[in-house]
Every structure is written in C-alpha cells, then in structure tokens.
Point group: C2
Chain length 332, copies 2
Amino acid sequence: VNSLPGEFELIERYFRPLAKAFPGAYGLNDDAAIIAPLPDHELVAKTDAVVAGVHFLSDDPADLVARKALRVNLSDLAAKGAVPRAYMLDLMLPNTITEEWIAGFVSGLAQDQEHYGVHLIGGDTNATPGPLTVAVAAFGDIASGRMIRRATASRGDTVFVTGTIGDAALGLAVLHGDAPELDAGAANFLIDRYRLPQPRVALGQRLPGLASAGIDISDGLLADLGHVCAASNVSAVIEAARVPLSGAACAAIAADPRRIAAVLAGGDDYEILFTAPPSALSMLAEISRELGVPITEIGRVEGAAIGGKAKVTVLDNRGKPLAFDREGWTHF
Amino acid sequence: VNSLPGEFELIERYFRPLAKAFPGAYGLNDDAAIIAPLPDHELVAKTDAVVAGVHFLSDDPADLVARKALRVNLSDLAAKGAVPRAYMLDLMLPNTITEEWIAGFVSGLAQDQEHYGVHLIGGDTNATPGPLTVAVAAFGDIASGRMIRRATASRGDTVFVTGTIGDAALGLAVLHGDAPELDAGAANFLIDRYRLPQPRVALGQRLPGLASAGIDISDGLLADLGHVCAASNVSAVIEAARVPLSGAACAAIAADPRRIAAVLAGGDDYEILFTAPPSALSMLAEISRELGVPITEIGRVEGAAIGGKAKVTVLDNRGKPLAFDREGWTHF
C-alpha cells in the first residue's frame, strides 16, 4: 500500500520550494516552463536517467540518489563548457517509497541547487510497479557557437583530465567486497566517489576557447577518449603512468596492479576529459590553481590510424602499448 | 537474455536518423544538444513519462507507445500556445524488448516527427529490471511573454474545449470489457482515442492573444478546469449538455447514462480546455472552421466562491448542479 500523499500535495509540500527562484517555472503550478538562454547564448540540453539496481544501489540514501541523478547531467553540461541553470525531473516511484524518502530526496536536490545554482522548473511523478527511476533533463547557457564538441580534437593537441581517475570504479569494487585489504579511510573515500559524483562545473565553464574537444568520463577513460577520437577522426596515445590517481586508488593498485584496468576502463568518474592545443597550457595551469582542481596532461592526439579508424593506445612506463580486455562499459 | 544490439549500435541504426535534420543535435554523436528559441521567442519546456501497465498496456504496439509518449508532451505545448520543435527521450528497456520492437518504436517516432515537425535532439537508453518506461522532454517556441498560462482566467470569460470529450476514458472501459453492448465501429473509435492522443498542435499555436488561460485535458475535464480555476482564483460553471461528445460516446451514454461521469472526469482526452473573453468569439469560430477542429463553448468563468475557494460547478439540462464522486483522477 502506498502511503504517499497525492501528486498535487507532493508537489506543493516538497517540490514547489525548489522552483520558487525561477520565474519561468511558475511555481510548478502550470503545465510547462518557460526558459530562454541569456542574450547571445544558446541552451545546452542533456538528459540522463538512473534506475535503482542498475545505476545506484536500492538502499542508497535518498538524498544521494537525488544528487547523483542531477549531477550526472550537470557533468555533461560542464564538459560542454556550459553554465548549468535549470532542470526538469521525471520520478517513477515504486509503492515502497515513503514520504520520509521523498523529503530526503528533495533535501538532496535543495542542497545541490544551492551548490550549483540550478533550479527545478518542471517535472512529473508517476507510480511504477518497477524500480525507482529518476530521469533528469538539464539545461545550461553557453555563448553562441562555443559549446565544446566531441568532434573537434586535432592532431597535435594534448589530452587532459581533471581530478583523479578510477576512484568510482574502485569504490564499486569495495562495495562488492572485492578490496578487503583497504583501510576504512581509503575504502570510504572510494565509495563516496562512486556514490556522489563531483561534476567539474566551475572548471568546465572556463574551458570554451581553450579546449578543442571535451567529454565527461562516464563510460570510462578509454571508452570516452575513444568517443572523442571517433567523432574527431583522430587517434590518441596516453601514458598509463600519467593518469592521475588518488591516494586511495594508489593503495588499491599497489595491493593488486591488475586494478589499473578498472581505473582506465571503469567509468563513473564524472571528471572532464578534454583536448587542447599546446598554446592553452599556461591558461589551463592558472585555472587549475585558481579553482584548486588538478588538470593533468595524460597524452596526445595523433592523426587517424591506418584505414582511417580512430584508436586509443595506452603506453606503459617503458613506452610499450598495453592491452585491455575491454574499453570501458556500455549501458547494456 | 537481452538480444538487443549495444547502446551505440542502437543509436546509430535507429535513433540517429531521427536527429539528422536538427543541427544542434549533432547526429546524437555528442554529449548534449544545442537549442535556442527563434528570435524574440522563448522555449516552452515540458516533461512527462509513461510506464507500461500504468499509462499504456504492456502489449500495445511499439509504434503507438512511442507516439503516445511523444504526444502527451506535445499536447501540453499545444495548450500553452507553443510551436513544438524538438524533444529528448529517456528509454528504460526491460530485457524482453527485441530489436524488432525498437524498430517499431522508432518508426512511430519518425511518423510523428514528420506529422508535427519535431526532431529528436538527445536521449539515453538504459536497461531496467522493471516495466518499459519512456520519459520525454519536449520543447516548443512561443513569442516572448505569450505563453498561455493556467493562472490568467478572468471572471466573465467563456470556457471552451476543442474536439470531443470522454472518448479515451470510454475507450479504456471498452478495453476492460465494460461496454460490451457497443458495436465494433464505436468500440474501435473509442479505443483508438485512448491509445493515440490527437494533440491540438495546429490549433493551440493560434490561441495566444485570444485565450486568457488554457490547459490540456489529461487528468479529466473537471479536474483540469479545477486546476485553471485554482491557479486563477476564480470559479467556473459548465453545462453538462454542452460538453461535445463523439457519436460513439453518445451511444455509450445512451446505453448507460451514468457514463457521463467518465466523460467529465475520465481524463486522457488531450484536448485543449481554454478560457477567452467574449471578444475572441468570432476569431475562434474562424480558426475552428479553417482547421476543421470543433471549438465548443461549455460554460463561463465566475468570481471566486465564498471563502475564496476556486470551484467548478456542473449544471444539468434543467440548470441544477450535478454531484460527482470524484473530480478526475491523479497519478496516484
């Protein structure tokens, strides 16, 4: 039996406050919202959904589920150089969901709205006989013509990543009991990185004009670099030893060096991978210092491989190519 | 076992063609889309999701599921006066879905894209252990400041509806075996009206400047008129005998007059309910003739009831108020 209040009461009590600062949301009291980009800007639009048992664990706290659902979308906007502004929300709720859960979910949204300066502008709640499902459509502003594309990397560009790579994949391994040797501090750090992405929103909006191409790392470093290469018709060579690792990830790899595959191919990093010409280096260093976010050079863009096929090569610390079983994971 | 191709192949083979005519979709080969309203316009944004077993029947044909998911969103844009332009799509697919089903789903989208002039600009496919779920976010253009609101109906306005009311609710009753006396022609007409909404897209975009307030009828005529009244702080009186009915609905009500409740409260009509001042009447008649869509006057807007509470009154053909068990249905 579903003990939730009706949809109208849910909106009034919980969701309306999330919309109050965005005039075009009309207090969620109309059928649609109005949104327009800033003058001389366009809207960057992205949608992504998360499903309990697929993208998060069914007993993850409600506020973290909300923040993860929102942040995976903000991460795409960040990688495209956009300033996030608003989002819409479709909630498919199984009948096990309580009003307390909704309150926690909404408090997670409120916290991230404050942090990222975004507003709920519309949505829909539905009953489902299936798992909790949250679909978000997010909107950001970008100066017209300046969205950072996948398809515009050039031979001679440098490949960069923000933050550290592989923490989320290792965090999931910890949750599955696959890294029992890690101390509690390292284990919790990695789990947090899996549960709560830290999209590089402040940094991403500094990249238009500097980055030649970009993508957020959700499928895995190798797969997402592969997407950039395929779209740009180039190849890339990265050096495994230059991929930035957290202390916890270093500890995990020290205990079992095969875990480097999870780092390079694991996914869920929500860092930005981008390419930039050498001329951007000093500006990037300054932005990194200013925002306190590491930006690390991990490789270079080369011409398309023989046969025109885009290819990503990983070199070990002797400069020899490494082989991997798979280049990341897809959603199937 | 899921026999579907991977996500990237699905996009390439089936979804990319739906995006080819919209430059900002980048062939679904980037992480986000670019959309900007026409000059001196704003975007109207709406999201709505449908779940198998809740909003449609699990064995409904794939193309109809696609078209219904899209059309319930286009219906909102139409009621707001917007010209639909683009949409994003989140698909949650159970492992029973086949490639043939995807092909049917996409052919339904292609058909409606052609019909309504909209384009797929982004999306996401996910596996789900639950029922098929389709979330759509739709965008339309509206001249700045001209969106038709819920909150702007005035005392003295006339209440209008487009098309005929109650067909979808009666169609669902037919599907449930609750109207065995209807002939096959009437039964199939009503079922079609349930399965495939006909959003009033061409008509809706003619209403800005004429309609004072509007809403699409999804929760039911009485509930949706109630939403307009509550948002506008007015009351409304409608005459049951003036509510426009199809021949099939007339036959169903002739067989059982209690079915008028399903007509007035049933929902899923996806017609437009709007209010307009008497000065709009001749223009509305002309638009109705030109587009071949009935526009019927069913009542009037009055001041807020005593205590300031918005209220909808239905009069029978002697002018006496009718009572209903419920004022439509909500999603819970």
